[in-house]
Amino acid sequence: MDLILDIGTWISLLIGSFFLLVTGFGLLRFPDLYTRIHAGGMADTLATAIICFGLALQSGFTLISVKLLFVVIFVFLTSPTATYALAQAAFVAGLKPRLDGFEGPSEKPATNNDDD
């Protein structure tokens, strides 16, 4: 039984880490702000949930698992909201998304949002 739990934890952790890595690549490689926060907001939330699930497997039906559940719920609510707020702020500030087949000059406003 323990072995199965351990294997389950390992699998979850590996999958979670994979998604986090993908997030990192996305933040670095995507062309503009909107695609980047897309990478940051989506994969990150999923990765957190999977990793927390893996950890919960280890702790079983205890208070710790409940706390992990709260963490997942919290991240599930806040991370997309933060992404949304960021995108909204950027849009209001006049940052135009960079669209496929459209390499207009408008995607380089004076703000410094593009800094790595």
Partner: protein, 344 residues
């Protein structure tokens, strides 16, 4: 394994702080500083300092970042290109570093069990006897609130000082400079004006989500406040979280609504009340025949007395810190409001 985590974190810290030094954009520098604080908090966890990690995460990565961002919104975020390598500061920094490196060679090995610090009577007393004579499991809380309660009183006073200081400094009237009028006439508005808003006006999603979350944030603050005896937490961390809840509220719904809920005058009252509550516990123990902050005399049973005393002083810390953080936020946000075009 643990060493590698530590070393990895520390190398990240160095990389982060070098980046802080070199980036020109102050927003980026602030976020990097926040990241450094957060890494530091992780490092504190691996070094067994959970209470400190909690505080560093809440303060270094949380409140100070908010303060920096608030300041940058008012003063602009670009740094002038740095001059060449400055020789004298470099030499000074190197000599300070050299002095410490010189010291480390004779310093006890980190983690060893036979260092003067670990063998000291104080450590023995705090680790072995404090759970019995104070009666609470979290030794950090015991030392913080009882053995070194006066330090914590001083710390609360420092927070109080900072709060009234910020209110004093930021309540001075803004005297217009001649250049400023020129700028206005020529139609070039200072960049700060566009950012100087508090609150995002009509965003449905943040409104709904924050309405759901804020009660839980406040609840969590109470949990941290009263659970500090048994786990990491205590008045300071709770105060910061509580204040963060209110700050979030005013960022989403607007400063004026928060001020209606908690006017500055009320915040000032709480600010003073927390310090007085802490000191009052001390005075009460003096009246009951003990020394200042001697909680043993507060109740017939010394351990119960310690419990009561620690509960009350932690409450005092929590109240003052909440009020102080709010007051500081009001100070900065009020300044932004005064300069921004309109707020809601």
């Amino acid at each position: 394994m643990e060493e590698f985590t530590d070393i990895f974190l520390m190398l990240l810290l160095v990389a982060g702080s070098l980046a802080v030094l070199y980036v020109r954009n102050l927003f980026v520098a602030t976020m990097l500083l926040s990241a450094v604080s957060f890494l530091m908090a992780l490092l504190f966890v691996t070094l067994d300092a959970v209470d400190v990690a909690f505080t560093e995460a809440a303060v270094g990565a949380g409140i100070s970042t908010v303060l920096y961002l608030g300041t940058l919104a008012l003063v602009g975020s670009s740094e002038r290109p740095a001059a060449k390598l400055s020789v004298i500061p470099l030499l000074l920094a190197l000599s300070v570093g050299g002095a410490l490196i010189y010291a480390t060679f004779d310093m006890p090995v980190i983690g060893a069990a036979d260092t003067p610090v670990q063998l000291s009577n104080l450590t023995k007393r705090f680790v072995e006897i404090s759970p019995i004579e104070i009666g609470i499991p979290n030794m950090v809380t015991s030392v913080l609130a009882s053995y070194r309660g006066f330090d914590t009183f001083g710390e609360t006073t420092v927070v109080f000082t900072a709060a009234i200081g910020v209110l004093l400094i930021l309540s001075q009237k803004h005297v217009r400079r001649p250049e400023e009028d020129e700028v206005e006439q020529s139609g070039l508005k200072p960049a700060a004006k566009d950012h100087g808003q508090v609150g995002s006006p009509h965003d449905l999603i943040p409104h709904v989500v924050s309405k759901v979350l804020i009660p839980f944030i406040l609840l969590f603050a109470f949990y941290v406040q009263f659970h500090g005896d048994f786990g990491p937490g205590g008045g300071f961390q709770a105060g910061v979280i509580m204040a963060a809840g209110f700050i979030l509220y005013s960022l989403i719904f607007g400063l004026h609504i928060t001020k209606k809920l908690l006017p500055l005058r009320v915040v000032e009252l709480f600010l003073a009340f927390g310090v007085l509550l802490y000191g009052g516990v001390g005075v009460a123990s003096m009246i009951k025949g003990g020394n200042f902050l001697d909680y043993n005399v507060l109740s017939a049973d010394p351990v119960a007395g310690q419990h009561l005393g620690i509960l009350l002083v932690e409450l005092g810390v929590g109240i003052t810190v909440t009020a102080a953080m709010l007051a500081i936020f009001y100070g900065f946000a009020g300044r932004a409001q005064g300069r921004g075009k309109d707020v809601n």
